[in-house]
Subunit: 123 residues, 2 copies
């Protein structure tokens, strides 16, 4: 498995959020979602292609490869799980969103599993 960075996972997740929302997988939307410039998204898509996570041709929308979708859904799952957990701790919606974006990419699998157990046990 090639190495992904926090930044690259953010872009992949952003595309995945569009996908979940049934929105077009456009760079401009990711640009607005992440508050970065369109060229930044463009560069990230090239890197995502290089890593084999998405396919696209110039001026087309992106589409996930199987590997890309797998990683994206994993990051997304981490995000929603950690957010649920922070909300359960009593953290405000705003800070839960903010914090889980920052930690979802770096937590070890072990720690994430512990958190996941605490959340699902509650359902």
């Amino acid at each position: 498995m090639k190495k992904t960075t926090k930044s690259i996972e953010d872009y992949l997740e952003a595309f995945y959020i569009l996908y979940k929302n049934k929105e077009p997988l456009e760079s401009a939307r990711v640009s607005r979602l992440l508050n970065v410039s369109r060229p930044a998204v463009n560069k990230a898509t090239h890197e995502l292609m290089r890593l084999g996570f998405i396919n696209k041709t110039p001026y087309s929308e992106i589409e996930f490869t199987p590997a890309g979708k797998r990683i994206a859904s994993k990051v997304y799952h981490r995000h929603t799980t950690i957010k649920k957990y922070l909300l359960k701790l009593g953290v405000s919606e705003k800070n839960a969103d903010r914090d889980c974006c920052l930690i979802e990419h770096v937590l070890s699998d072990e720690t994430f599993k512990k958190i996941e157990e605490l959340v699902v046990d509650k359902d």
Copy 2:
């Protein structure tokens, strides 16, 4: 208050760890502690001076300013608190150390307070 980055907080915390251990506040020790080169530490100390967190003269050891010591102890406290918390969750020593280094700088005050309560309540 001037803006600190994760990196700069890491260096400040490393010096503070030496201080707590009653070791000399030498760049070479920080270099080994953080696994970075001595020039990297040297650059960081200049930035820490610029930010008003430490004082030093060429070839001298550093010393904390009041502001520097305040920030350093805050970061250190976050580190130990988050680590205790992760251990309480059942995370291994190794991953607790790893993870809290990565998240201690980014958690919102609100989230940290919630975690802190969970740890101190147990004492």
